[in-house]
């Protein structure tokens, strides 16, 4: 009896899934470093957004070529993965194509998988060409060097290899070819191996089968280190994404409390705060680091797949300014990862590292270049809101550091003094009537 392959398979599967579970836990812990925010509203709208935007890819197809190819890869990915179930059962129990018992249905299924595999392969090759040969601008912005650039290509290579292995695995499965049902594509690949001896073909089949499933397990664990996380996070992210009008910025509750107190004539400004009231006071207004952002904003950062549609629509970026909404998201994620690693290295407690998101990652120059036009928010195919992070960081700059550009300080002084951003007398507000 030879149970070695079954045992090896079980070990590989447990290791792959176990490592993945560990990373998911870390991911959730990091996202929860963000501030709490109430997202219990508009449930039906939120489900609808998830169904339309993530499941239905409604925003991807705004750009027809990339959108169409992406839909193919996406559908292919989901449908071909049905095959995974069979592979796992076969692997664990040493069976051969367990589902082929229902031969006719099986033929239809595998035939579909094979056609999709070819379509995915073609799409991924076109993606690679768009990125590396045609050099579409948004893939070559300044933040898309080193890891982000390689990451994108590694994902494409992964998919090319996995699809090829799937087809080779079918083509070299002599029994499957003899069945002659569902081998719509692989029957044309099989003759390439016909000169080889049967044991050699069988070895190739086994190798392709093993590499395919191991490749999938490796890819699963690659996700956490990659922009490719979007295949999972696009779903929660579109659910938790903004459901209010795009123009509506949140009103800071902590400020509302202070303002209400200032406006209330019954409040004694010199009264000592009641016991325990300090604990309620926020540490600061606005955001200078990732822990100041909300967990939805941090989820946004992990969901970003660096497609750059936001940046390619950003008026500031289009006119050569440093701001790139994609970079805002990448910086937020990179800093969050750094904070997460810091926590791992220090027994679950963050140790001050003298760094923060503002300044070390995102500069004030980038933040002040934003026109708050919402083009980035509109462009994002997975409901990421880079604008909210920009505003939160501006809030920190202005309310904690008084570090607004001098013209803006003048503008704000004017509003304080005469209720208009320009230095005109409030009493002249109606003069236009008689001019």
């Amino acid at each position: 009896m030879n149970y070695l392959p079954n045992i090896l398979f079980a070990i590989a599967l447990i290791a792959g899934l176990g490592f993945f579970a560990r990373n998911v836990k870390k991911l959730i812990r990091n996202i929860k470093l963000g501030q709490d925010v109430d997202v219990s509203d508009n449930k039906s709208q939120r489900w609808k957004n998830m169904a339309m935007i993530a499941l239905g890819q409604s925003k991807m197809v705004k750009r027809p070529i990339a959108g169409f190819l992406h839909v193919i890869v996406y559908v292919g990915f989901i449908i071909i993965n049905i095959e995974l179930l069979e592979i796992v059962i076969d692997g664990l129990f040493g069976t051969w194509r367990i589902f082929s018992y229902y031969q006719e249905l099986y033929g239809v299924l595998i035939g579909t998988f094979e056609i999709l595999a070819v379509l995915v392969l073609i799409s991924v090759i076109v993606f690679w060409i768009r990125r590396n040969i045609i050099k579409i601008q948004r893939f070559w912005k300044s933040e898309m060097t080193s890891w982000p650039k390689n990451d994108a290509n590694y994902i494409l290579y992964f998919e090319m290899v996995l699809m090829t292995l799937f087809l080779v695995m079918n083509a070299t499965d002599i029994h499957f070819q003899l069945m002659n049902s569902g081998n719509v594509v692989s029957q044309y690949i099989a003759p390439w191996f016909s000169g080889l001896s049967e044991p050699t073909i069988h070895t190739i089949e086994r190798a392709a089968w093993w590499l395919h499933i191991l490749g999938i397990l490796v890819f699963l664990n690659y996700l956490y280190y990659s922009k490719h996380l979007h295949i999972l996070l696009a779903f929660p992210n579109t659910y938790y994404g903004k459901v209010k009008p795009k123009g509506q910025l949140n009103n800071l509750e902590s400020v509302t409390k202070e303002v209400k107190m200032m406006m209330d004539p019954n409040v004694d400004p010199f009264a000592a705060p009641p016991e325990g009231a300090d604990a309620e006071m926020p540490a600061k207004f606005g955001a200078s680091d990732v822990q100041d952002l909300s967990w939805v904003q941090l989820l946004n950062a992990y969901t970003c797949t660096e497609c750059g549609r936001c940046t390619s629509e950003c008026p500031a970026n289009l006119t050569g300014k440093k701001l790139s909404p994609r970079k805002i998201m990448m910086d937020t994620r990179d800093r969050l990862e750094e904070v997460g690693k810091n926590i791992d290295a220090n027994n679950g407690k963050f140790k001050e590292d003298g760094k923060q998101l503002l300044g070390d990652y995102i500069t004030a120059e980038e933040l002040w270049a934003c026109t708050t036009c919402n083009a980035c928010v509109e462009a994002c195919p997975v409901s990421i809101d880079p604008l909210s992070i920009i505003i939160d960081m501006r809030r920190y700059l202005v309310m904690e550091q008084s570090a607004a550009p001098v013209e803006l300080n003048n503008m704000m002084t004017n509003i304080e003094n005469n209720g208009a951003p320009w230095p005109y007398n409030q009493m002249d507000r109606l003069n236009w009537k008689d001019e």
Binding site: P245, P315, T372, M399, P421, Q426, W432
Partner: protein, 264 residues
């Protein structure tokens, strides 16, 4: 000017013991900026023509705080908001119409949480309503017939609040040749003024945003660039000047196009 504009204030209405149908929120630009004041007056002419019972706050109006909020000064925004809400609620305001998409967005979306609940409309929405209910009739005019007009979507009207059709309906009713820019509606490019940019120099770059947007508009070969925001108007006017086209291309608010073409 043909006749005196009728611009009652809320204070006068209150003294006379009556409640006007709408409050016209003029906004800081509409009150003080020379170019924007023309838009304000054009809209008042339309209101007068349709016999709309409206009022303004006049000297009791103050900045909505929109620009302070977007510059990051949430304190100043909420101080302004709470003060304005006190005034508006004291006058028992129910409906507000404004020609400024920034005021529109803030009043409509950001005031309710702070205690200010009003029905807020952009002037292009309100004028559409006047036409629909038969209170205002617009005749196609010789002055505009055959003119090519492109409409620049203000971010705070379009993307921010999904109002795309109201301004276009009005332009169509004027019988003009409406041509769209390649970037329009929800993919429209910003004029460059939002987010407090209006009040500061732009960051270092290779072009000004308003120039890029004006180039978008110029591709449609327009006689007139229409818009519905005083800030957009300033930015596009400057852009047209930068392109040295001010003799052949006008930048006009939709209220102005209506008022002028109807000889108001």
């Amino acid at each position: 000017m043909s006749e005196q504009l009728k611009v009652p204030t809320m204070a006068q209405c209150m003294a006379e013991g009556r409640q006007p149908e709408i409050l016209f929120w003029v906004g800081a630009a509409g009150s003080y900026d020379d170019r924007a004041k023309k838009i304000t007056k054009a809209f008042v002419k339309i209101l007068n023509k349709a016999n709309v019972d409206f009022a303004v706050l006049g000297t009791e109006e103050s900045s909505t705080g929109d620009v302070a909020k977007r510059a990051g000064n949430e304190f100043l925004f909420q101080m302004q908001a709470v003060t304005n809400i006190e005034v508006l609620n004291a006058y028992e305001i129910k409906r507000i119409v404004t020609a400024c998409p920034h005021s529109y967005n803030t009043l409509k979306n950001e005031y309710p949480e702070l205690g200010g609940n009003y029905q807020v409309q952009h002037h292009t929405e309100f004028i559409n309503e006047l036409i629909k209910s038969g209170r205002l009739t617009i005749e196609g005019s010789n002055q505009l017939s055959g003119k090519r007009i492109t409409f620049h979507d203000p971010c705070y009207l379009g993307r921010a609040n999904d109002v795309y059709e109201a301004p276009r309906n009005l332009l169509r009713s004027l019988g003009v040749d409406l041509v769209e820019m390649k970037r329009s509606r929800n993919s429209a490019l910003c004029c460059g003024a939002g987010g407090a940019q209006m009040f500061k120099e732009p960051e270092k770059g290779d072009k000004d945003i308003n120039v890029l947007r004006t180039e978008d508009a110029m591709e449609t070969n327009p006689n007139i660039i229409a818009t519905g925001c005083p800030y957009c108007n300033t930015m596009m006017t400057d852009g047209v000047k930068a392109k040295e086209k001010e003799d052949s291309v006008q930048v006009m608010d939709i209220a102005e196009l209506i008022a002028n073409s109807q000889n108001l």
